[in-house]
């Protein structure tokens, strides 16, 4: 038992699962809702954190300085594009998803081209493009609130044995990413660049190409997550920034991925995302005001990060 506990402590990502489990039990107690209903909700909501978290994880793995702060607005624009193209007609869904995908690709290419050509640090580029894309989304999405087609909303909440289909799809996707990172040239290149960018270039890895692909993947995942979220919540929201700026970074770090790069952890993203959702859900059920809610979330995230990373460094 002691050995087991010690092992858990060494694995930050396992810790996040334990945290999620604890919160889940607490919520079952304070809420009247059943255990499985809570689990279903958790999976359904945290899927969005997981999708964007995986993108952020790939970018952060590229090493110091690499971070994608344009995720919130990529999600907003992805959602707006999807809703506009669908135009409440179900048969437009495939085309809309294609456009959303292309929107994400365009954002990612834009980000990395600016980083590469103008040699501005990624944090500033993505923070700036976050503003620019937000403006684009506001002016493009102007007008009436567009509702997603019913079948699209149904897809985002559809369940098999209580497990949401998008969660199942995301599980498969996560497995693919894990294999990608550990078994393919592309994945190994990301990790190599994160560990030593100069050495990676010297052994012939096309550093810029790999980075370009990675930033593009991150933006594309964000756009798709935005479209799904719009379907799930019954329309687009222009105010995702406050939540989705911190969340993707928090789940990456809580999930045991090194912020210094070169080391990533896919299962950790799952644990951390469910932990984060349950945390927010628990604070919401307490029914406290927005100010206190934000302060508590901030304190807990800083607290959990300081706790878990101190275990890691020893």
């Amino acid at each position: 038992m002691k050995k087991f506990l010690a092992q858990i402590r060494n694995q930050t990502w396992a810790l996040s699962f334990v945290g999620a489990l604890l919160l889940w039990i607490i919520i079952i107690f304070i809420r009247v809702k059943g255990a499985s209903a809570t689990l279903t909700m958790t999976l359904n909501f945290s899927v969005f954190y997981i999708i964007v978290g995986i993108g952020q994880m790939l970018v952060i793995t590229l090493g110091p300085g690499n971070i994608d702060l344009s995720i919130p607005s990529a999600m907003i624009l992805g959602g707006v594009v999807a809703m506009k193209v669908m135009n409440e007609v179900a048969s437009n869904i495939p085309v809309a998803m294609l456009y959303t995908f292309l929107t994400g690709v365009a954002i990612g290419l834009f980000n990395y081209c600016i980083i590469l050509l103008l040699r501005i640090p990624p944090i500033i580029v993505t923070l700036s493009s976050n503003l620019i894309i937000q403006s684009i989304a506001i002016s493009y999405g102007r007008g009436l609130r567009i509702y997603p087609p019913d079948s699209f909303t149904e897809f985002t909440v559809m369940r098999i044995l209580g497990i949401p289909i998008i969660a199942i799809v995301t599980i498969f996707f996560s497995i693919v990413v894990a294999i990608l990172l550990s078994r393919t040239v592309y994945g190994r290149s990301i990790i190599a660049i994160g560990q030593n960018s100069k050495a990676a270039r010297l052994v012939g890895i096309k550093v810029h190409r790999i980075k370009l692909i990675t930033y593009t993947i991150s933006a594309t995942l964000a756009a798709i997550a935005g479209a799904l979220l719009a379907g799930f919540s019954g329309g687009t929201s222009l105010d995702l920034g406050s939540e989705y700026l911190l969340a993707p970074i928090a789940v990456v770090v809580l999930g045991g991925t090194s912020i210094a790069g070169g080391k990533s952890n896919v299962p950790g993203i799952w644990g951390a995302s469910m932990f984060l959702y349950l945390l927010v859900a628990m604070i919401n059920t307490l029914g406290i005001g927005e100010g206190l809610r934000l302060a508590i979330i901030g304190i807990i995230i800083v607290g959990v990060i300081s706790f878990s990373s101190s275990e890691k460094s020893r």
Binding site: S135, S139, I299
Partner: protein, 297 residues
């Protein structure tokens, strides 16, 4: 470089709005640059030790909320709260160092805490600053507008404090080579706490002045400062790593970023694009740095 960027922005502003060239024009134009200059110096200190502060904007907002909500009621309590804020900043630095945490995550997390506190203090925009603060912020100096004097003085103080003093070299050394500084017998922890305390102090000064100038506050009054301060530091010739900073450049960078904002309001773009235009200006301004940097080599 920051001088060139400043000139490039000043020329069209004076062309579009010739009245801006007068004493009052300059005063109005540069007034709002002073709080940002303080916030930028705070950011510069954090960047100096190879960290980054994504919470400075919300922190300055919190200070502004304190100075319109607590200061008018009790000067003692108000300054006590502001002192607490500075101490919390120092503790944040200690936490980041002791647990070797990524500053991005900690400051981003703390930004939620500051924002939360601000909303608790001031749920709706408003409030009233104490009279002495109003008088200070609107003080009119003869001949040279006050903002120019403050900017010069503060730039020089920080310049001599960091670039010309022995301990300043130690602080900058942490960004360059922390291990070497530690081997030389200096406490990194102490130095980091001092850096964060100073940053907190500048953040507090920024917030107090901002509330004095705007005469009220809201929970998100300085939200943009996070991005603008980073931009100001980099534009002013600072680097993200290595402890290479330039205090006078940072002040000029902050003034440039404020003028860029004023310029946007002069050319009257649609509200949809106000946010995006900031991002575009940021990218353009910083890409200008690339051109001059290459010439230097």
């Amino acid at each position: 470089m920051p001088v060139i960027a400043l000139a490039i922005l000043l020329i069209p502003i004076f062309y579009l709005q010739p009245r801006a060239m007068s004493y009052f024009g300059l005063n109005l134009l540069l007034n709002l640059a002073i709080p940002l200059a303080f916030a930028t110096l705070a950011q510069m200190l954090i960047i100096m030790v190879n960290d980054i502060d994504l919470s400075i904007g919300t922190f300055v907002s919190l200070v502004a909320c304190i100075s319109v909500r607590i200061l008018p009621i009790s000067t003692f309590l108000g300054f006590g709260a502001l002192l607490m804020c500075i101490i919390l900043y120092g503790l944040m630095g200690a936490l980041i160092h002791i647990r070797s945490l990524p500053s991005i995550v900690v400051t981003l997390g703390m930004s939620y805490v500051w924002l939360g506190f601000s909303i608790l203090l001031l749920p709706r925009p408003g409030g009233k600053v104490p009279d002495w603060l109003l008088a200070t912020a609107n003080f009119r100096t003869p001949f040279i507008p006050l903002p120019i004097i403050i900017a010069t003085v503060i730039g020089l103080i920080v310049y001599f404090g960091l670039m010309r003093s022995a301990y300043g070299a130690v602080l900058r050394g942490i960004g360059g080579n922390a291990k070497a500084v530690a081997r030389a017998g200096w406490s990194i922890l102490k130095a980091k706490i001092i850096t964060y305390l100073l940053a907190g102090l500048f953040g507090v000064l920024s917030g107090i002045l901002l509330s004095g100038i705007t005469t009220s506050a809201d929970a998100n009054i300085a939200g943009r400062y996070t991005l603008l301060s980073i931009a100001g530091v980099i534009l002013g010739g600072g680097d993200f790593v290595g402890g290479r900073i330039s205090p006078i450049g940072a002040v000029l960078g902050a003034i440039t970023m404020t003028l860029a904002g004023s310029f946007l309001s002069f050319v009257k773009i649609s509200t949809d694009w106000q946010i995006g235009a900031q991002g575009i200006i940021l990218i353009i301004v910083l890409s200008g740095r690339l051109v001059t940097a290459q010439k230097a080599i």
